[in-house]
Subunit: 418 residues, 2 copies
């Protein structure tokens, strides 16, 4: 590795464990004597030269990142255009790197970020500035290829399975006279990984969830209602998990097909109330619905220990790879054994990961389309194993850290991203 | 206390800790050699003579109730009519008690249940059958009078405060380019106790939540929007907590004023999407909203230790009161010291509790109407103190118990409740 600093940036939707990755990066770099800057609000901070000097941060604060949700340096939703369309932004990044002697760029995100890191590595080379770019995996969507799973997903999976188990006990005890159908909506616009994780909640026949609606399947109201009815008649109640990404035969999101808000707009983010309305209208059952939204991806209090450990490990490895001089790679998770579950981190080329999307295998969805298979269970089960609770204060609340985030003095002219 | 058995019944919406009360009842009764029957699905089970023999249940299963959410014997929403309107049901209860030698009735619920227990005690006396009736407090709504607080509330309060703290970190890190306004809806149709608990999440200026909408206040869109705008401009983002019970100037629930489902019905259970639509339409900010619904009241995994202990204690005391021959009372929680927080259980007459509703004091809501006062904080803070996690299996999920619930053979003719 060339001497110089590491720049670390968080990208896209945050998770309960992305800060554990930041801790892995910073603690490992400190051990090696490499200073780490962080970009404020992700890649935008790099473009704006809005940098944070993590060396000013107390050791205890960095350690506390391991149990703090959200993105400690700020993240953003901003995708750099292609080199052809907006070369200026890539050149600007190199300019900022040069000005601050940044020789390693660690971009912590999903497939888009892997693509960006890959391109930045190349243009640095073209412009005669040597910088190693390493993509660090993070996405609750679990849709990165090559890696066995993605840091962030295991904790959402655990949250979802626990919520289904707990609400199942609630509904079961009230179904005689009250709610018979409970519908919970989970994230995952393109793939049903989180919805599938809900299936881990049940351990014996009759347990919740009884119906999972995957974005991989076209929603058919008739089949759905028939299954709800059959479940209520057999079990006494019915627990439904629906992915926000479920679409009808018309190719539209369920969420768009139903409710209109007070202003007449299609109401966003609500497949569950649409299903609830359908159940009420066609079957007449009492229902409740829930939409935990950000609660599911920020629930550090119930994070998966495996997930926390893997999130830390990819950060640590990213720095080690940088120190070894690796470029345009990502530390990915490899499952080396299923029972007992074992894993290791390996370097994989960004070329193979950028802009790809891992769909859930068909073999993970049961034949009737409403549940998960044994194969899915084998894959998912280890990812939610173990607890890693944050410390709690005497006030009964988790103690999360807010960093000082000391700004690095600017050296360059202002740059306004496109 | 006359010899004979105890009948225990769960009533109304369940909670994360109502089973801890059941454990308190059953374990204490076992110590005293008193057999406990439970009514299946609450008072309906008593009317239907659908009884469960808890003496058939293993000790470990009863102990596991302390960490299992939901209602282990089933609960119901069923209010007995007045004695004048439906004397037959009261007489039926006495008939069932007589047939099974039940000399103590423990009714675990809210104000309605206290009223029922009170009436059953009286009619037993009139009919010449001696039965002691004791109301055992339970309601996440925290609206029982006399008692300082209600078992079930502290755990929802803790869940809510943690969710606000965690989602706040999430939104703060994304606000630069993504969601600026996050709206979370909490339970509490008549009183803002749960909404108020959200206020515990913040410990310093700028922390979430920035706006709490209480059912105690009439919702005014202009003031609300102005406060959202001012918060986003100052803090960069805005966390809003709204009680499902918030009403507009027209006296209608916010939830009813907005979205229509695909069938044209007012959409129930959604004040948060209505506010989100308002924010989008009038301010143009990106938003997300969440509606945790049953997740909040079943979240045993993050229950308050104080709440679990109090829930157990009221069950235990109820049996002790019964053994002492007390009738028509409720074990209530008395706060004996604020700092350090100390409490004890005392017997209070059901006459003083039945059919009353404890509103939140005006002094608990800040002058601007959007936050809690120091007095509210002093009252609420101790109720969420301490953690009492359930045991977790190797699979990473909480181990909750499902009881065998062995039925008691029926001795009477069928009775169909009104």
């Amino acid at each position: 590795m060339a001497a110089g600093k590491i720049l670390y940036a968080q990208s896209g939707g945050v998770s309960a464990v992305i800060n554990a990755t930041a801790a892995g990066v910073i603690e490992t770099a400190r051990d090696k004597g490499i200073p780490v800057y962080a970009a404020r609000n992700g890649i935008l901070g790099a473009l704006r030269e809005d940098l944070i000097d993590t060396t000013k941060e107390a050791k205890a604060n960095i350690a506390a990142l391991k149990h703090t949700p959200g993105g400690a340096f700020g993240s953003c939703r901003y995708k750099l255009k292609s080199l052809e369309e907006n070369r200026a932004e890539y050149e600007r990044l190199i300019e900022v790197f040069k000005a601050h002697d940044i020789r390693t760029f660690l971009y912590n995100g999903g497939n888009d970020s892997a693509d960006t890191a890959n391109k930045v590595a190349k243009i640095g080379h073209t412009l005669g500035y040597e910088v190693n770019c390493i993509g660090v995996p993070k996405t609750i969507d679990n849709d990165l290829v090559v890696t066995d799973n993605c840091p962030g997903f295991g904790s959402v999976a655990k949250y979802t399975a626990i919520a289904v188990r707990e609400t199942g006990l609630d509904v079961a005890s009230m179904a005689d006279t009250s709610t018979k159908v409970f519908i919970m909506e989970v994230m995952g616009r393109h793939a049903g990984w989180i919805a599938a994780a809900a299936g881990l909640a049940g351990s014996k026949p009759g347990d919740a969830p009884h119906i999972i609606l995957f974005p991989e399947n076209v929603f058919d109201p008739e089949t759905f209602l028939a299954r709800v009815k059959a479940t209520v008649e057999k079990v006494g109640w019915c627990s439904v998990v629906v992915s926000e990404g479920v679409k009808g035969a018309d190719g539209k999101f369920l969420a768009e097909s139903g409710a209109r808000d007070a202003f007449g707009h299609a109401q966003l983010g609500g497949a569950s109330p649409v299903l609830a309305a359908l159940v009420r209208e066609k079957l007449g059952y009492k229902y409740h619905w829930a939409l935990p939204d950000y609660l599911q991806r920020s629930a550090r209090h119930i994070a998966s220990k495996v997930d926390v450990e893997q999130a830390y490990a990819v950060g640590k490895k990213a720095v080690e790879y940088a120190a070894e001089g690796l470029n345009a790679v990502m530390p990915v998770i490899v499952r080396t054994s299923e029972e007992p579950y074992k894993w290791k981190i390996e370097a994989a080329p960004l070329d193979k990961i950028a802009n790809q999307e891992k769909k859930m295998p068909k073999a993970f969805i049961s034949k009737d389309g409403f549940g998960i298979t044994a194969a899915a269970r084998r894959y998912l089960a280890p990812l939610i194993m173990g607890e890693a609770p944050p410390p709690y204060g005497e006030d009964g609340l988790p103690v999360y850290v807010t960093l000082k985030n000391t700004s690095v003095p600017k050296k360059l002219k202002k740059f306004v991203p496109a």
